[in-house]
């Protein structure tokens, strides 16, 4: 693995690092809002990964132009899939925040160790 390859493929490395960070935050942070932020970091890293998969080096936006028929297009499908992914991530965040508000009303705190115990 040479340096050239690492530089060309840096979005993949960034997305893996962000994914690990996000998962770690969800699992270890006691603060519930921070957990939700961790979920968002994790999902954003996946979006980055998908868009990096769709990218072609030197590609142009996939809009057909009759004058230049044989150019390299960027794959639009992963980006479109990620629009769905963003919607899903948004709804999960909204739902989680609503639950956290309700828990705050019950317990007066948003710090998980005070009530989330394993039984």
């Amino acid at each position: 693995m040479d340096l050239q390859m690492v530089i060309l493929n840096f979005p993949y490395f960034v997305s893996i690092i962000l994914f690990s960070m996000g998962t770690l935050i969800v699992l270890t942070q006691p603060n519930l809002v921070k957990k939700v932020i961790g979920i968002n970091i994790m999902e954003t890293s996946i979006f980055l990964f998908f868009i990096a998969v769709g990218n072609a080096h030197g590609g142009v936006p996939p809009i057909f132009d009759a004058n230049t028929p044989h150019v390299l297009y960027v794959n639009p499908l992963p980006s479109v899939m990620m629009l769905t992914g963003i919607v899903v991530s948004f709804s999960v965040t909204a739902f989680a925040l609503a639950l956290i508000v309700k828990l705050y009303i019950y317990y007066g705190t948003i710090s998980a160790p005070n009530f989330m115990k394993l039984k």
Binding site: L27, L32, F50, S91, V92, L103
Partner: protein, 503 residues
């Protein structure tokens, strides 16, 4: 093939979806119409699935291209015989549970959330059916999220402290799981360029030697992702809280159906997309078998120490998920068939047990396993159904559970792992240790509380008898368990047709 027939699976997804969006509006206007409309929609879906099942068993798999786009690009729906069995199971069990919900929802939920409860229920039904019949992995991801979020909504419907806590835990862990699944889908798309399972299978067979590390990574991501979703043992942490704090009709859906559809999706990805060669070349098979064995034993151990009935049932689900994964891990014709049969049988058993638990709490207000003295005389039909389901859980012949455990034992002989049989027997005995004390108490010991509560007069939780709409579903499901035990051929016929094409 007739065009209208091939469209039917699509209607199975769309009817509950439309009905679910009508519910909140209807709830503002006429609250009492929600339950009948939801039941009607589910009954319509159930009828459609029966027609589909008949069609599939006579004419072979149905395929439908959504809005006319052909497979590599468009979304494809494929119903083979296993999926047709599963969609009839899902809609049938949901129908039974909805009938039970008529009274149970009024008893367990606040009046204001009734409409939203049915919204979440129908959304969950639509997501589950879609997940089983979809042949496109990104579409699967979206349906996984629909099922997951609406399942969280079903847990939180009760609005208590425990339920909210459990729902948040479920939501966070399930989102991690679906994140892993989505990452796995990204890896597959990266190396194959397809999202349709059939095309992925063709492409992966060619490139599997070029990208061995990516295939290993993808498989492990899918095992973790679907493991969290389906509550495979070390990843089951959300399940006991969520399933025990939800209202009983929700617990029945969650425990008997929601965790299973992820296993079917996993089976499809593992055996169709990756194919048998990768399954045997990598160590994924050993990993699944080891995790399943741990789940079978430790799930039963944890269930044994619980004193709340619904928590005990929830931990029992963890153990039963182990059986199903064991069937997948064995990967032999009998092993797979028994694993899939166990999905069907366990759906009946757990629905029966959770509905009984709900009925007992409804009539007597008792929720602990040591309060069951004399219950067999007070609620003879409910306890009878409970006994049937428990016997089936333990694996006594003539009941459904026996057939699937016997099949798993045959499967482990086929796979050359006879020591697994010991684990199956041990787990069955552990099941007996935590179900039989309840039954023994119910039939063979005196109730100390009867006179006491009679003196106090009728309180909120004491009712004379169950309404027929709660009793009928319990009886139907219990009869289903006996039917599966005596005539397992019907279900096995459907299962074996698909497994013959997989292996």
């Amino acid at each position: 093939m007739d065009v209208t027939i091939s469209k039917l699976p699509f209607y199975c997804v769309i009817i509950p979806l439309i009905a679910s969006f009508c519910m909140p509006v209807l709830a503002r206007w006429k609250k009492e119409f929600c339950a009948p409309l939801a039941t009607l929609a589910t009954a319509a879906v159930f009828t459609l699935t029966l027609i589909i099942g008949y069609q599939v068993i006579t004419d072979g798999p149905l395929a439908y291209h959504v809005s006319g786009w052909s497979p590599p690009w468009g979304i494809e729906i494929v119903v083979e015989s296993l999926s047709s069995l599963m969609i009839s199971l899902i809609s049938g069990i949901c129908l039974v549970i909805l009938v039970y919900s008529f009274v149970a929802v009024k008893f367990e939920l606040e009046r204001i959330v009734t409409g939203w409860y049915y919204t979440a229920f129908l959304l969950c039904l639509s997501g589950m059916i879609g997940l089983v019949i979809s042949n496109d992995i990104f579409n699967m991801y979206v349906l996984i999220e629909i099922t997951g979020i609406s399942a969280c909504a079903l847990v939180t419907a009760k609005g208590t402290r425990m339920a909210t806590e459990a729902a948040l835990k479920y939501l966070l862990l399930a989102t991690i799981g679906s994140g892993f699944i989505l990452f796995g889908i990204g890896f597959i798309y990266m190396i194959t360029g397809h999202l349709n399972i059939t095309f992925i299978a063709i492409e992966l067979a060619q490139v599997k030697d070029t990208y061995p590390i990516i295939i290993w990574t993808t498989l492990s991501f899918f095992v973790v992702g679907f493991g969290v979703k389906a509550a495979l043992f070390p990843l089951h942490l959300w399940l006991p809280d969520a399933h025990s704090s939800a209202p009983s009709p929700s617990s029945a859906v969650l425990s008997s159906l929601v965790v299973k559809v992820y296993i079917i999706a996993f089976l499809k990805i593992l055996f169709i997309a990756f194919g048998l060669e990768i399954f045997h070349e990598t160590f994924i098979r050993h990993l699944i078998i080891v995790l399943a064995v741990i789940a079978m034993l430790s799930g039963s151990f944890f269930a044994f120490v619980q004193i709340e009935l619904k928590r005990r049932l929830a931990y029992s689900t963890v153990a039963q998920i182990g059986y199903i994964f064991l069937g997948i891990g064995l990967g032999t014709p009998w092993g797979l068939a028994a694993g899939m049969l166990h999905i069907v049988v366990h759906a009946f058993m757990k629905t029966c047990l959770f509905l009984c638990a709900g009925a007992i709490a409804y009539q007597t207000g008792r929720k602990q396993v040591n309060e069951f003295a004399g219950m067999g005389y007070k609620m003879p039909i409910t306890m009878g159904a409970f006994t049937i389901a428990s016997f089936s859980m333990v694996g006594i012949p003539l009941f459904g559970g026996f057939i699937s455990k016997y099949g798993l034992a045959l499967g482990s002989l086929e796979a050359g792992l006879p020591s697994i049989i010991l684990v199956i027997i041990l787990s069955g005995l552990l099941n007996a240790t935590y179900y039989f004390p309840i039954i023994g108490q119910a039939y063979f010991s005196q109730d100390d509380h009867t006179g006491h509560s009679a003196e106090q007069g009728p309180n909120k939780f004491q009712k004379d008898q169950l309404p027929i709409s709660m009793l009928a579903p319990i009886v139907i499901v219990a009869l289903g368990i006996i039917y599966l035990g005596i005539f397992p051929g019907t279900a096995l016929n459907f299962i074996n047709q698909t497994i013959a094409t997989l292996l």
